[in-house]
């Protein structure tokens, strides 16, 4: 049996795929920004907040880190309505992504904060800055610079994990691909093409991150 690769139906539906890719980019981007904010706030709270708050954050992180994203998204979309929280699929997808990446970002940023030399904080204290000012003006930028690689690969990973949000009928790239392959029965070809599109997007995101790095963290490190 000889399998004939048929790309024509895939390319005929390219607009559909591009729309899906655009939604994937939007989902990732919004989730990334919100997740980063969650991460920064929680990391700050975790490195100095009152113990009960820290336990709560720990519990959140452990729960998210140790369960599959698929299960998390099921829960948010199908179970939360029982508690009266109802969201559209794309909103639920964003919420799930933020919840997920927020936990990872918190851990990464916390590690970054802890990697800052103690002397930096002491210098801030000696100058009379308060805790929030030290965090905001001294630690944050340096911390993000040290963990920037880890953070960006987490974000690329996030972008790739959006491929499972189609289970709750969100309309991302993977969902668009599924729709097309169901109609044209060229699953292999469709997946090959969208895999290529994901690759382009992740390389694009990596490039964008490098650009941001060059612009935002342009201060020289010690010789």
């Amino acid at each position: 049996m000889q399998y004939q690769l048929l790309f024509a139906p895939v390319f005929a539906n390219m607009d559909h795929l591009l729309t899906g890719a655009w939604i994937t980019i939007q989902l990732s981007f919004v989730a990334m920004i919100l997740g980063l904010i969650v991460g920064v706030v929680l990391a700050f709270a975790k490195t100095g907040g009152p113990p009960p708050l820290r336990w709560l954050i720990d519990a959140y992180i452990e729960l998210v880190r140790n369960t599959p994203f698929l299960a998390q998204i099921y829960f948010i979309y199908f179970a939360l309505p029982e508690f009266g929280i109802r969201m559209t699929p794309n909103t639920a997808a964003i919420v799930a992504l933020v919840v997920n990446v927020g936990a990872f970002a918190t851990e990464i940023i916390r590690a970054g904060i802890e990697s800052i030399a103690k002397g930096q904080v002491e210098a801030g204290v000696a100058l009379g800055l308060n805790r929030l000012q030290i965090f905001r003006y001294i630690i944050l930028k340096q911390a993000v610079r040290t963990i920037y690689p880890a953070l960006t690969s987490q974000f690329v990973y996030l972008m790739l994990s959006t491929s499972v949000v189609s289970v709750i009928s969100a309309t991302d790239l993977a969902a668009a691909g599924n729709d097309i392959q169901q109609r044209t029965f060229t699953a292999f070809e469709v997946y090959l093409v969208i895999t290529g599109m994901y690759l382009v997007m992740s390389l694009g995101f990596s490039g964008l991150f490098r650009l941001i790095q060059r612009l935002a963290f342009n201060y020289p490190l010690s010789r």
Partner: protein
């Protein structure tokens, strides 16, 4: 400073330390590694909390409550062995951060002050560089300028020259000597004996968390009373 006791866990780092520093006085602290010199001066601006005893700075009792700590920190400048400049800010930003955020001074005014002090430590032209672009000696002088920008009444130095290459030690010491000559109250941990002889009003020798000997530099160096001081002095001038 009265009867100050400091513990790190079970480790007794400062043992009943008593010390009074008068305005304008310049004190050099020395002693072997681990003797508690850093601990002592770090207690003065509460980088370390003491177990018991009283610390009064400029009439304000530090050990009495967090409000006082704030007030004292504004009056105490500190320079560290590792410079601890903020690497992500230019020299100028390093110097203006605290005045702007802590004292609420306007940016233009803060920069003016910063430039004044940078000129005083002889590096006015480096204002827009980042710390990593400066030599160690220049960095340490920026650190001194940064502390001065808060108009402190006392300056603390913790081995300001010991992580510098030999060529750069002098430029930093010169800056410190100038500062001393202008009448700044200074407490300085250092092993630079030349500096101590030249500017110190008193030299304090510590060992194992205690003040072992205290005296004029001339007397101390040439004629130490205690056996421990003698042993130490002979070691560092081998």
């Amino acid at each position: 400073m009265e009867n100050v006791e400091k513990y790190y866990g079970a480790f007794h780092a400062l043992k009943a330390v008593n010390l009074t520093v008068r305005t304008g006085e310049r004190i050099v602290l020395c002693g072997p590694s681990g003797s508690g010199k850093s601990t002592l001066i770090r207690c003065i601006n509460q980088l370390e909390q003491v177990r018991s005893g009283r610390i009064v700075v400029d009439g304000i009792e530090l050990t009495a409550g967090p409000k006082n700590v704030e007030a004292v920190r504004r009056n105490v400048g500190m320079v560290f062995q590792q410079f601890n400049l903020f690497p992500h800010m230019t020299v100028l930003e390093n110097c203006t951060l605290a005045p702007m955020k802590v004292s609420g001074i306007a940016k233009a005014k803060a920069e003016e002050t910063a430039r004044k002090y940078l000129a005083r430590v002889r590096i006015p032209e480096q204002a827009h560089k980042y710390p990593a672009q400066l030599s160690g000696g220049q960095q340490q002088r920026v650190a001194i300028a940064r502390a001065l920008c808060m108009n402190p009444r006392i300056m603390l130095f913790d081995e300001p020259t010991s992580s510098l290459d030999p060529e750069m030690v002098k430029e930093v010491l010169d800056t410190m000597i100038e500062l001393a000559n202008e009448g700044m109250t200074m407490l300085c941990v250092t092993h630079e004996m030349g500096f101590a002889r030249q500017v110190a009003d008193r030299v304090i020798f510590m060992d194992q968390g205690e003040i072992v000997e205290m005296g004029e530099p001339g007397t101390f160096f040439d004629n130490p009373r205690e056996a421990r001081s003698k042993a130490f002095l002979s070691q560092i001038s081998h």
